[in-house]
């Protein structure tokens, strides 16, 4: 657990205040509130369908909330906010698409502008620098669609970072990665948060790969959220209250398991999935 980084200079970079969202008559988010300070690494943990992507869409201004507000650096967010970088979930690019890793990173600079980007030495240098920062120079000239999941994630992170955001949102970036690539991505993000003082909000259904990197956790369940440090939030009493029924928080070999009390059913949140465990036993 790294020491908590707080910005003495200014207030939080992101403040989510009492945000509620209903989709097709269903309450997806209910009175969700939390704040993120500059340079903080925050995990947004919740099972599939807990509302993680919806919360991102609210922060990005793509989903108007039914109630509540979102402040970016103390101001109401606008449609195109240059302070926010975003890496969407499940990015699968056609291997035939004529786009090299360096082209996608370059689009991060100015994709919202009309016209064609003229090549310049400054532009090329900025792209090179960003490729270097995510260790992507080795595959900079390959098509993005031909890269592995971990390599694509690094290129997408560079695409988001090159616009120099103050807050980086990543939606389930570890979902389709093997354990090794997942560790690499988390280490990279952790380094970026520390070195460039960029706040990171990363969603995951399994918190275990993030345990060493997270400064704070926002835990989503049943549309509601509780936030704080991992020690404060991931406790039997706190999560039982959030879920609305008894859950057990178990710590096994440095991993966290959240087990629902009812009928011995495993809550899929924070659960280092059965398949992982099985794979390890088999191989």
């Amino acid at each position: 657990m790294s020491a908590e980084r707080t910005d003495s200079g200014g207030g939080p970079i992101l403040e989510v205040e009492g945000v509620s969202v209903s989709l097709a008559g269903r309450d997806v988010l209910r009175e969700v509130s939390f704040a993120i300070d500059p340079g903080q690494f925050t995990g947004l943990i919740g099972s599939n369908g807990a509302g993680k992507t919806t919360l991102f869409r609210v922060i990005l201004g793509l989903q108007p909330p039914r109630g509540g507000s979102v402040l970016i650096a103390g101001r109401a967010r606008s449609r195109r906010n240059p302070l926010i970088g975003y890496v969407p979930q499940k990015f699968l690019l056609d291997p035939d698409a004529p786009l090299r890793a360096r082209d996608l990173v370059g689009l991060g600079i100015d994709a919202h502008r009309y016209g064609v980007a003229l090549p310049s030495r400054a532009r090329t240098a900025r792209i090179e620098e960003m490729l270097e920062a995510v260790d992507a120079r080795g595959f900079a000239d390959r098509r993005v669609g031909n890269l592995s999941g971990g390599e694509q994630q690094r290129v997408l992170i560079a695409h988001a970072l090159i616009a120099r955001p103050a807050l980086l949102l990543l939606d389930e970036p570890l979902a389709n990665l093997d354990l090794g690539s997942g560790h690499e991505v988390v280490a990279l993000l952790s380094r970026i948060a520390a070195e460039q003082r960029i706040a990171i909000l990363i969603s995951a259904h399994d918190m275990n790969p993030l345990l060493g990197a997270m400064d704070r956790v926002v835990y989503l369940a049943a549309g509601r959220a509780v936030s704080g440090t991992v020690e404060e939030v991931v406790r039997t009493r706190v999560l039982s209250q959030l879920y609305g029924h008894h859950v057990d928080v178990l710590r096994v070999h440095g991993r966290v398991l959240v087990v629902a009390g009812e009928a011995g059913e495993l809550a899929d949140t924070g659960d280092p999935t059965h398949t992982h465990t099985q794979v390890e036993i088999i191989s």
Binding site: N81, L93, D94, L99
Partner: protein, 306 residues
């Protein structure tokens, strides 16, 4: 040397005004179709491109009935169809094929009516053939300004939209996250596509127009890795196929069976297809070898994971 050249370029080829117009209009249209086509292929909208071309048949036959130039008919119907598809839900990937198919069906129904009216009014099959399969040698110099205006419009749209369109085509989520108005960009692109398809239909016929749109672009995507180079390659392949097709059609004037020339469109489309196949040959081998390489590397790494 000059004898060989004489055999390739039949006498009168360069001085024929028909050839000159066909070659210049064909080249401009090939550049527009190649440029727009690269995005059509990346966006997976080949079916929409095909439909807008096919539906041009309605515009072409309709314009024949009301005695205006066919290019007006192709463009008017393609733009109207594109607007309808957009409103019916082409922006949603799942609604896309349905919206396209529904509009295509409705449009072709009208074409059936128009061809029936043409056939009952005057007994020529020439109009039908020209509309459906095209005839670059029949293009008159009076249509050149309109071709130029449409071409400039379509190319300007692509140049203006280039960066947001590229990001939208790769990942709408990524584009939306950056505040790009994905639906507006998609609708403007559809307008460029409708114009490009109308131009292609005017040159090589409505049902073959998709070959000029998608063929060179798909070939270029096999050969290049960056968007700028893909567009340049698609334009070059399109222009090359068109010019070579025109030359072969000109030379075919003394070929059997009739001795009055084979259709240009046949040659153009065939050349595009051959180029596509040739572009696939070396890459297929390269990809499969790297794929097996990666697989064996993965297999080797697997046991050490546990």
């Amino acid at each position: 040397m000059s004898a060989t050249l004489g055999a390739i370029f039949a006498p009168g080829f360069f001085s024929s005004s028909q050839v000159q117009i066909a070659a210049s209009v064909g080249a401009v249209v090939a550049v527009v179709a190649g440029t727009v086509g690269v995005f059509t292929v990346i966006r997976g909208q080949s079916f929409a491109g095909e439909a807008l071309g096919d539906i041009g048949t309605t515009g072409g036959s309709g314009s024949f009935l009301v005695a205006v130039g066919p290019l007006w008919g192709f463009a008017a119907v393609a733009i109207a169809a594109a607007a309808t598809m957009e409103m019916l839900g082409i922006q949603r990937p799942r609604g896309r094929d349905v919206a396209t198919g529904v509009v295509l069906g409705a449009g072709l129904g009208l074409a059936a009516l128009f061809f029936y009216l043409i056939a009952t009014n005057d007994n020529t099959t020439g109009a039908t053939f020209t509309i459906v399969f095209g005839s670059p040698f029949a293009i008159t110099s009076s249509s050149v300004p309109l071709v130029a205006a449409f071409s400039v419009t379509a190319l300007s749209l692509i140049v203006m939209l280039f960066r947001p369109l590229l990001l939208c085509s790769i990942s709408p989520e990524l584009a939306a996250g950056r505040g790009i108005h994905v639906r507006l960009v998609g609708a403007l692109y559809l307008l460029a596509l409708a114009i490009a398809v109308a131009l292609a239909a005017f040159t090589i016929g409505t049902i073959l127009s998709t070959a000029l749109l998608v063929g060179p672009a798909a070939t270029a995507l096999r050969l290049t890795r960056s968007p700028g180079r893909a567009i340049a390659a698609a334009a070059l392949i399109g222009v090359g196929s068109t010019w070579l097709g025109i030359l072969m059609a000109y030379d075919s004037y003394d070929w059997p069976p009739l001795g009055n020339g084979w259709p240009v469109s046949f040659f153009v489309v065939s050349l595009i297809f051959v180029a596509y196949l040739l572009a696939g040959l070396p890459r297929r081998r390269r990809v499969s070898s790297t794929a097996t390489g990666a697989d064996s590397a993965k297999l080797a790494a697997e046991p050490s994971r546990g």
